[in-house]
């Protein structure tokens, strides 16, 4: 399902301009990371995908729907959005009800709901916490519950807003595997993140934002090679990309495999 955004402007009450003229299209099945400065409008942009916010100006279409013609509840069948702060999202008294809430609301019967909830529990590793109140969980597990409750919607488009914040190496790995799995199921995956290493290793396309606009948009390698433009969005290239550059590699590298590949090559040449 395609996302198509035309000349999107958004201003919060109090004349706070958050988005000024976004044009963007994301095809079905793409794996996109959005990076950029604090306050540049990343969260505001993706909150338009499921109708939580409606454009001040411009249009946004999800497949054949203009978001302004559909309710948030309807849009949930097409776009699942995991909040940056899980506390804004979670309100059920146990993990299982939290995960079942979305599918039930979309009108799925008990069997289908059960199936979706079990799938989400498996992907997020929440098995031991089915009956736990999300508020008794640590912040990092609460984030997993928030993720799980959106996975359970089984929507064709899934948006994660800073899923790796505060997560340790192991949990980041779990999130990367979840992203892979959803991608392999043909879903469109959009993730906001400040962790550029994570983005470069796990995504195909990077969009970098600054002050309500898109400054860079391209394949991972295209975007991370542009150190100066990236810096204007307050993002540094990934660690190994910087190292490769310092070592004088000819090509841009984005992860350990490509770094070591280029290193071997330069080693042989010497």
């Amino acid at each position: 399902m395609k996302i198509e955004i035309n000349n999107l402007h958004f201003t919060y009450p109090g004349e706070i301009i958050a988005l000024s003229g976004i044009n963007l299209s994301i095809e079905s099945g793409e794996k996109v990371a959005i990076v950029g400065q604090n306050g540049s409008g990343k969260t505001t942009l993706v909150k338009h995908f499921n109708g939580l916010l409606l454009p001040t100006n411009g249009t946004i279409r999800i497949g054949d729907w203009d978001t302004k013609d559909h309710s948030v509840a309807e849009l949930a069948s097409r776009v699942g959005y995991v909040f940056q702060n899980p506390d804004e999202q979670l309100f059920n008294s146990d993990v299982k009800s939290e995960l079942g809430f979305g599918p039930r609301n979309l009108g799925y019967d008990d069997d289908r709901t059960e199936e979706l909830v079990e799938d989400a529990i498996e992907l997020t590793g929440l098995d031991n916490y089915r009956d736990t109140n999300p508020y008794d969980l640590s912040p990092t597990w609460r984030k997993m519950v928030a993720l799980g409750s959106i996975i359970a919607l089984d929507s064709p488009i899934v948006v994660f807003d800073e899923p790796t914040t505060g997560q340790d190496a192991q949990s980041v790995e779990v999130i990367a595997r979840i992203a892979d799995e959803l991608h392999s199921r043909g879903k469109t995956l959009i993730t906001i993140s400040h962790d550029i290493d994570f983005c470069a290793e796990n995504f195909e396309r990077i969009i970098a934002m600054s002050e309500g606009e898109i400054l860079l948009d391209g394949s991972v390698l295209e975007v991370i090679a542009q150190e100066e433009s990236l810096a204007t969005t307050f993002v540094d290239p990934p660690q190994l990309t910087r190292l490769g550059k310092e070592l004088g590699f000819d090509q841009t590298v984005n992860d350990q495999a490509s770094f070591l590949g280029a290193y071997r090559l330069s080693h042989e040449q010497n």
Binding site: N38, T165, A169
Partner: protein
């Protein structure tokens, strides 16, 4: 004598019977920048709460052992006295915001106001603090209508402005953009150079390596290793306990298995070390 000293500290939250801290011994000197790394639920926040007095004065439960800051004993002190010396930036910025102020400026001035600081001095200190963390342009905004990272910077600034003798920060850069995060590290490093003692829980290994004087790694309520950033952050104990390491370290380890990185060069944690290490390997043959 160390400025902060924990002796045989074991702590159990009231709702559980498994200790969250087990026999912690830790000394931090005045002006030192100590970083705490560890996997999720290792006890980093619990340790931050203990040093800053929220344990046992806010979270009750069972605290055994002794906590001293500047010669004062934690259990014999009141929380409002303790916080004059020790400031804590919470992991979740929402917990920091007072809930009673209409603008970011007032929010940051709140603590100084409570101390009865003169108005002119207060304005000057708030403005300077906001400039340091790069949020001057948010002064008149509501503390609630901010982006996640902006909110985290406000929470940080509201403690920074108090100039606590001991500055405890629990993952203060988790929601900051990469350049903003590095700038915060720089500001905090400056404070520690000026004599403020810094204790910071953090996952960003590269910046910990660059800025901290000493690092402790925690797992399951215990300190599993303690030492210089290079020593701790390249230790095999970290990946064994699910704790992240820098990409430089990981790449060098892999390169070593292929004979592409010298066995005698220390594993790199920072970019500079990695450049030196990987160019060294190249020039050997």
């Amino acid at each position: 004598m160390a400025l902060v000293e924990l002796s045989s500290v074991t702590y159990t939250y009231p709702t559980t019977d498994k200790p969250a801290l087990k026999d912690i011994n830790l000394k931090v000197e005045q002006g030192e920048f100590l970083a705490i790394v560890g996997s999720n639920e290792a006890g980093k926040s619990t340790l931050c709460y203990t040093i800053s007095g929220f344990i046992p004065h806010f979270f009750h439960g069972d605290l055994v052992g002794e906590v001293q800051v500047a010669g004062l004993n934690l259990e014999e002190s009141k929380l409002n006295e303790w916080v004059l010396n020790v400031g804590l930036v919470f992991q979740n910025p929402f917990n920091q915001i007072s809930g009673s102020k209409f603008t970011v400026f007032e929010e940051i001035a709140f603590g100084l106001e409570n101390l009865g600081v003169k108005r002119s001095e207060m304005i000057e200190r708030v403005e300077r603090a906001m400039e340091l963390t790069g949020i001057s342009d948010l002064a008149d905004r509501s503390p609630y209508s901010l982006s996640g990272g902006q909110q985290q910077k406000v929470a940080l600034t509201s403690i920074l402005v108090m100039e606590p003798q001991v500055f405890v920060l629990d993952e203060p850069t988790s929601q900051l953009d990469p350049i903003g995060a590095r700038e915060v590290f720089e500001v905090i490093k400056e404070m520690s150079r000026a004599g403020i003692t810094v204790i910071m829980a953090e996952h960003k290994i590269e910046w910990v390596a660059e800025f901290a004087d000493r690092v402790i790694a925690m797992h399951d309520g215990q300190i599993i290793i303690e030492g210089s950033p290079q020593e701790v952050l390249t230790s095999p104990l970290l990946p064994e306990h699910g704790i992240g390491t820098s990409r430089y370290t990981q790449a060098a380890k892999q390169a070593r298995t292929e004979g592409l990185f010298s066995e005698t060069t220390p594993l790199p944690v920072t970019l500079d070390q990695a450049v030196a290490g990987f160019s060294g390997g190249n020039h050997e043959d």
